[in-house]
């Protein structure tokens, strides 16, 4: 019933002069429309045919409008779900009438008409393949993001670049994370079993505390490359340390660390990297 009334309104609006254009299209968008894409393409064709009758000036205008359409994305999203215009027969009539009118009052309504034309084209584009639907667009963006992250992970996880398919890649990633966690556990176990030595090491650190500069200089002589960097590590206070409770619970005296730290990091530069690449 609503559709019928709006049809009537449409007809009446067609016979009205220029002002009725905006109304006409409002009704058009409000209508419930359940025609297939075939029908739509037919209407589109018809409109194209009728437009080809028009003067050269107008047709060129249309072409330029068509060129602009793909830029207007927002409108496309809005209009994607809205209903389209009426039956093709009526459509043809209306279009013919409309274009006659357009001929008459081109100068006044150019901008307005271009907007209306925009709407018409975009309906078709959104309808044809459902890929321009906002939901599927978001889905596509999400998929792109996932694949991008998968690529990053592929670079990180060794042996993952040979594998194709996301499921297998996920398998590899899971295995790698598990192996790394197991390695950490194993290492902490080893460190725990290493304790008597560590106790000595603790004693050493006590000694370091007494005369840190001497030991530091000896270490620096052993590692000449580290000479500049060790004072910076001593002077540095780590800003993130203060924020975290658990970090604070682990904290101890600051000046002991730099004695052992450069060595450890240096070793990690040299030794471990080769091992790590081998994995």
């Amino acid at each position: 019933m609503a559709a019928f009334s709006s049809f009537q309104l449409l007809d009446s609006s067609v016979f009205l002069p220029n002002n009725a254009f905006s109304q006409f299209y409002q009704h058009e968008t409000l209508q419930n429309f359940d025609h297939s894409t075939k029908n739509l393409s037919v209407t589109n064709k018809n409109s194209m045919d009728s437009s080809s009758i028009l003067t050269d000036k107008f047709s060129t205008e249309k072409i330029t409008q068509r060129a602009i359409f793909p830029m207007d994305k927002k409108r496309k999203f809005k209009e994607g779900s809205s209903a389209n215009c009426a039956q093709s027969k009526d459509m043809r009539e209306m279009k013919g009438k409309r274009q006659k009118k357009m001929k008459n009052c081109e100068e006044n309504n150019n901008n307005n008409n271009s907007k209306e034309e925009n709407k018409g084209y975009i309906h078709v584009r959104a309808r044809r393949g459902q890929a321009t639907d906002s939901h599927s667009l978001a889905e596509r963006v999400r998929r792109e993001r996932i694949s991008e992250r998968m690529k990053i992970l592929q670079g990180l996880v060794p042996g993952c670049d040979k594998v194709t398919g996301k499921a297998l890649m996920l398998d590899e990633i899971i295995n790698y994370v598990q192996s790394l966690q197991n390695q950490v556990e194993f290492l902490s176990m080893k460190l725990a079993s290493l304790n008597p030595m560590f106790y000595d090491f603790g004693m050493d650190l006590e000694q370091f505390m007494v005369s840190p500069h001497q030991n530091l200089s000896s270490l620096a002589s052993a590692l000449p490359g580290m000479q500049e960097c060790s004072p910076t590590t001593t002077g540095n206070t780590y800003p993130l340390l203060d924020n975290n409770n658990s970090a604070n619970s682990l904290l101890l005296q600051q000046p002991q660390i730099p004695n052992t730290l450069p060595r450890v990091i240096d070793m990690s530069c040299g030794k471990w990297m080769t091992k790590d690449n081998k994995y």
């Binding site: 990633i173 790394l180 560590f198 780590y238 658990s246 970090a247 070793m267």
Partner: protein, 167 residues
């Protein structure tokens, strides 16, 4: 390799901070614990070292990552429980694993949308990455990438500590 060379000159890098914190924690442990070699003590020591490794890694990363935030939260709860055993009740009331998962699944909408990916694998990954329960899949992947990087550095530093003090 070039980033590795820069590291000692960059005291605020994650590796350096992790090494500092880990050694501090080890030092603390060595001060506190008696040097007996019984199995129970060793096991306690192992647990402490493991906790120290994870928590120092997380605090080196800081609160900008979801996984490190999750670890830090867990550690804080853990230490709070150990310090104040009376708070066991609050712990049980605070942790709602089922409801949290429910809420996260509601927030994520339908969690079973990834038809092209294995769900079991995704859940496995969620279980592996700390704090992975409430993330969507994109977030989970990026967090996993960062977590893998951090685990790598952790393993590096720990092996070097081991090498350094075992020889």
């Amino acid at each position: 390799m070039k980033t590795e060379k820069n590291l000692p000159r960059n005291p605020s890098s994650i590796k350096t901070r992790f090494a500092v914190k880990f050694l501090q924690a080890m030092n603390k442990m060595n001060k506190r614990k008696n040097p007996s070699t019984s199995m129970a003590v060793k096991y306690k020591r192992y647990q402490f070292i493991r906790a120290a490794a994870t928590s120092s890694m997380a605090s080196a990363v800081g609160p900008r990552r979801a996984w490190s935030r999750a670890v830090l939260r867990k550690m804080r709860n853990h230490t709070a429980i150990h310090r104040f055993p009376m708070n066991n009740k609050t712990r049980t009331t605070r942790r709602f694993p089922i409801t949290r998962r429910k809420r996260s699944s509601i927030l994520r909408g339908n969690p079973r949308q990834e038809d092209d990916l294995g769900f079991g694998q995704e859940d496995d990954l969620r279980g592996l990455v700390p704090g992975g329960q409430g993330m969507d899949f994109c977030r989970l992947l990026s967090e996993t990438a960062h977590y893998i990087k951090c685990l790598k550095t952790q393993v590096q530093v720990m092996t070097n500590v081991l090498h350094h003090y075992s020889t």
